[in-house]
Symmetry: C2
Subunit: 300 residues, 2 copies
């Protein structure tokens, strides 16, 4: 039986594994490939202290190398469930039930869908949730970015380097993104903004060619011609696998020790309810979760 199983190998899980090994625990880190979490798809990370500019995938490669250097044991598997047993937990994968005294859930989050007609149908045919991955397909074309937060504006900037025109469509009249990103976006000639507006339908033939939008103040409907639609309207935590207390959005509720409502199950990173979801905060969560897990395992 392992002392600790960590589910999810993003910034939180990898940091937890580094700390757990250093605490002398028998630890197993489980995730499906590619590891690294959502940040792996970020073209540019400028706010993980120590690296002024680095791609998400490069940063996560450094985390993985660090974990390998301290001797973290990693396993490639998809975890469907975490089940309580008499003396701990079983981590259920497609083919195994792996026992452990304690568990850290570091499963992160995934993009939220708009839930409108055309979204699923055109995913991969004009609809995308990752500019870094898909922007090159839209070189010289007109695209829309849906959302006004940090990720939406970061990705709009990425797109504006490649696409002909980027239209940011936001349901409010101001952006939530940080000032520095707002200023950069407002300064770009090929980014324009459509405020107080929601997308009602994504349409086209083989590929997307237009979106139908509605102004939420005037109620006026209109159509915008675009060949790409990049959707950044928030994230959903990957927390279905575990039965602990969660908030309305599904984020795991935990205290400053990363303890959940079930003793022995800890949470770290984007899957837990917190003020700020960043690489640096996820990594710190992982360190604290490992600290708390070793105390739990050793009965301290």
């Amino acid at each position: 039986m392992h002392d600790l199983i960590i589910v999810g190998a993003g910034p939180a899980g990898l940091t937890a594994s580094i700390y757990a090994v250093r605490y002398g625990l028998d630890v197993l880190l489980i995730d499906i490939l590619p590891i690294g979490g959502q940040i792996s798809s970020a073209r540019l990370v400028e706010n993980y202290p120590g690296f002024s500019r680095i791609s998400g995938i490069e940063l996560m490669e450094k985390f993985v190398e660090h974990a390998s250097d301290v001797g973290v044991q990693m396993k490639e598997a998809s975890v469907s469930e975490v089940v309580s047993i008499s003396n701990g937990f079983e981590i259920v994968t497609g083919s195994e039930r792996i026992p452990s005294k304690a568990v850290i859930i570091a499963t992160g989050a995934k993009p939220k869908l708009l839930g409108i007609h055309g979204e699923i149908e055109f995913t991969g045919r004009g609809v995308s949730y990752c500019a870094t991955c898909d922007a090159p397909f839209f070189s010289g074309k007109k695209v829309a970015v849906i959302g006004g937060g940090e990720t939406a504006i970061t990705e709009a900037l990425v797109l504006s380097d490649i696409a002909k025109q980027v239209t940011v469509i936001h349901r409010r009249n101001s952006l939530r993104a940080s000032q520095i990103l707002q200023e950069r976006a407002f300064a770009r000639d090929n980014i324009d903004f459509v405020w107080n507006t929601v997308v009602e339908e994504i349409a086209g033939n083989e590929l997307v060619d237009r979106i139908h939008v509605r102004n939420v103040i005037s109620g006026k409907k209109s159509t915008i011609s675009v060949e790409g639609v990049f959707i950044y309207v928030g994230v959903l935590p990957n927390t279905d696998l575990v039965d602990v207390k969660k908030n309305e959005q599904g984020f795991i509720v935990s205290n400053e020790a990363m303890e959940t409502s079930v003793p022995g199950i800890f949470a770290a990173g984007d899957c837990r309810e917190s003020l700020l979801h960043q690489v640096i905060t996820a990594a710190a969560d992982g360190a604290v979760a490992a600290y708390s897990a070793q105390k739990f395992v050793r009965g301290k």
Copy 2:
């Protein structure tokens, strides 16, 4: 008037400054030289994710470079007091009173003294709080390390590479240091352990030549010949400059948003009460404090 003044340029303050600039705040970071905080004197940092092995000073150079790259304004000064004024705060230095709408206290901590006879007298003449700084003076000599925590054992390992013999003197019968460090220390031929023992006096002539110790169980007193005494019995937070709620040890009490008992004053890093004081957690504190400070400054 600045939007935000950050006092202290260690991992917490530097990260807060990077985030604050990215939030578009007019921010000033103040510290005396050399900046970088306590971690700057660590010979080896192996648990800041992304860097498997790096010296404390190199890591902090990277943080400083990162802060410079985003345009953080830094000032060299010693802050004696933070005073509330009608529309914010004044940061009092030797020669100035600098106004700011909000303040982040990231002043860290300093080594705790044993408070015994000979300690002050022999500081720099055999007594040290920094093996990384002073170990070379003790090449081939016998030294004592006082304490049993993470720092004590890390530094005992550093010393054992250079000194002839390292005697770890600890008032309990087991170490608090992480398992990996304990195993490394127990495996060293030239590190021995004196348990349940406190140091009562440091003695010598020009330089330290012995310590007087007492076993706390038997009460038996004895003398150990050493030429160096390295003291690691905890830290004291640098929080005298600010009048906010603190715990018994002087650490600033704050919530998960890094808010202190005074609105507009935030705390981050080793000076605040928290479960774990690490570079990674200090940096995350700094990010969250900057997030909360920009919300405060913008009245959100």
